[in-house]
């Protein structure tokens, strides 16, 4: 299918260092303002705090003055950016140049949705920002001030931080995303093998000690934007890179550990059932999930509604039948639908009213299945979705072998 055409510049080795005299946020805001003023951008889409409230939301803004209330890194992820962007561009591209400033996992979601034809990026500049993680929504609702403080703390140190969401604590894609490693045994994080990066432009904060912001063009498109703004430069990103590497190493190993832990916790029918015991079938996890793109979910459809007799029958066999029905069918089914596209953003977990660690379970499932298919969601725009392609000779291990024979697929050269 699609050939993975490589972009000229795959990883931001060089870029522009912006001094951040009056704070990182305002430096970024100023940069965006400049782009709007110089008409390099017609609009910006980014998180903003609704004045006199604690509520965060997405704004598609053209009026520069509104930038004041915006923040590229809000303490929480109320709506997944990819989903928000999809709402805007599902039915065709914005005819004007727009920058979408988002967390890396949101950018990944956007690219995944591009492959699923749920989003149009033609005139969008995807701008990712180094992300310290987001705070649990519940915590924030309970005590916005305290939680915001804790977030700023995490933001300034980039160190271990117990207060950000668990999925963020183990997220190794907190900066420019890298390909999924295909050899799960190997415990060092993967290197970017020059794949088409998810974002056009990356804003590096790590290694800048709060005094520097790194503008890193990741694609030709991103580079062009900087050129037009006379911000093209070859400043070394060494500080950023080395620090990112270091953090990535740490978080990657944490992720591995967490994956193992969650696999153990969900091992076997009873454990798995226990994890989802509290599920009330509200399907909020599905609604909040950026890559659960179906407008009519299979598990909500009448395809799964049966006669009272059949329910009685099932109850009879088991001794009882639990309602809400088919909780596991929903969750495991959802895994088999979207695990390969899961970007571990944790939106589902934030959305769960019963505090089920659904985000952590799906992250584990995502990591492991993506390893199996050597696929990274939302990284390479030209990389086809695993279930839309095939090789003639693959996955022999899942077939019952033909007696005295090698895997049938190997039988002979075939043209496709």
């Amino acid at each position: 299918m699609n050939s993975t055409q490589k972009d000229d510049k795959s990883e931001g080795k060089a870029g522009k260092i912006l001094p951040a005299e009056d704070g990182i946020t305002s430096t970024i805001i100023t940069f965006l303002k400049k782009s709007l003023e110089e008409k390099q951008l017609e609009a910006v889409m980014m998180p903003s705090k609704i004045p006199n409230t604690e509520a965060w939301t997405w704004l598609l803004l053209q009026d520069e003055s509104l930038l004041a209330s915006c923040n590229p890194l809000p303490p929480v992820m109320t709506v997944q950016g990819g989903k928000a962007l999809s709402n805007v561009t599902k039915h065709g591209d914005l005819h004007e140049k727009v920058a979408a400033v988002m967390r890396p996992c949101e950018v990944q979601a956007a690219v995944e949705l591009l492959k699923l034809k749920q989003i149009d990026l033609d005139n969008i500049y995807l701008i990712s920002v180094d992300c310290p993680g987001a705070m649990p929504l519940q915590d924030y609702m309970a005590d916005p001030e305290k939680t915001t403080k804790a977030f700023e703390e995490a933001f300034s140190t980039w160190g271990e931080n117990e207060s950000v969401r668990p999925v963020c604590q183990i997220c190794h894609q907190f900066s420019l995303p890298l390909p999924q490693q295909s050899a799960p045994s190997d415990n060092s994080p993967p290197k970017n093998e020059g794949k088409f990066p998810a974002a056009d432009l990356h804003i590096g904060l790590i290694g800048g000690d709060g005094t520097n912001v790194f503008l890193i063009p990741a694609t030709a498109k991103g580079k062009e934007l900087l050129d037009k703004l006379d911000l093209s430069a070859e400043d070394s990103m060494a500080n950023w890179e080395s620090k990112v590497e270091e953090i990535r190493e740490r978080k990657f190993n944490k992720r591995k550990a967490a994956d193992a832990e969650w696999q153990a916790k969900t091992e076997g029918v009873d454990n798995l059932a226990a994890v989802f015991d509290d599920c009330i079938n509200c399907h909020n996890c599905k609604s909040a999930c950026p890559v659960c793109y179906c407008q009519q979910c299979y598990f909500d459809s009448q395809l799964l509604q049966f006669s009272p007799e059949s329910y009685l029958g099932r109850a009879e066999k088991r001794g009882a039948l639990r309602f809400p029905l088919d909780t596991l069918l929903f969750h495991v089914g959802r895994m088999s639908h979207m695990a390969l596209s899961c970007v571990s953003c944790g939106a589902c977990e934030d959305a769960c009213p019963m505090s089920i660690p659904v985000g952590q379970v799906f992250t584990m499932m995502g990591n492991k299945t993506q390893d199996y298919f050597a696929y990274t969601p939302g990284l390479d725009r030209n990389e086809p979705l695993p279930l839309q392609i095939f090789k003639e000779d693959e996955f022999g291990e899942v077939e019952t072998p033909r007696e005295g024979a090698e895997a049938p697929a190997e039988e002979t050269e075939k043209n496709v």
């Binding site: 969900t266 029918v269 495991v332 298919f373 090789k391 003639e392 019952t400 049938p408 697929a409």
Partner: protein, 141 residues
Amino acid sequence: MDQKFEPKIIGFLCNWCSYAGADLAGSSKMEVKPSLSVIRVMCSSRINSNLVLASLLWGADGVLVAGCHPGDCHYEQGNYYARRRFALLKKVTEILNLEPDRLQLSWISASEGKRYSEVVNKFTEDIAKAGPNPIAQNPKL
């Protein structure tokens, strides 16, 4: 577990190869265990996790997906897609240890009546050894 446990196995068979293979097993009067209930579909690629998983979670002791050998698909490529989907679901159940061994994918051609009986009987034995599907026992599911 009761002594003579008769596994209930769902078998999704493609119309052109595997279902024909099953017929041949019958017309050659080969003994095949009654454990497997055949559900005929036009192509193995009609099958996806929605069907297999539901069967498993609703209490099937085993699920067999059978189609034409790679390269033989009556619709040219169907079984390749079927294999990928199956591989994903199998992986998911392996990761969760959600009875992965109760899911099986086999290629059975129209001339392989013998293989059909072998596949079904072997699968039945394995399942019989493994015992009933615990999911079917669990009142919480």
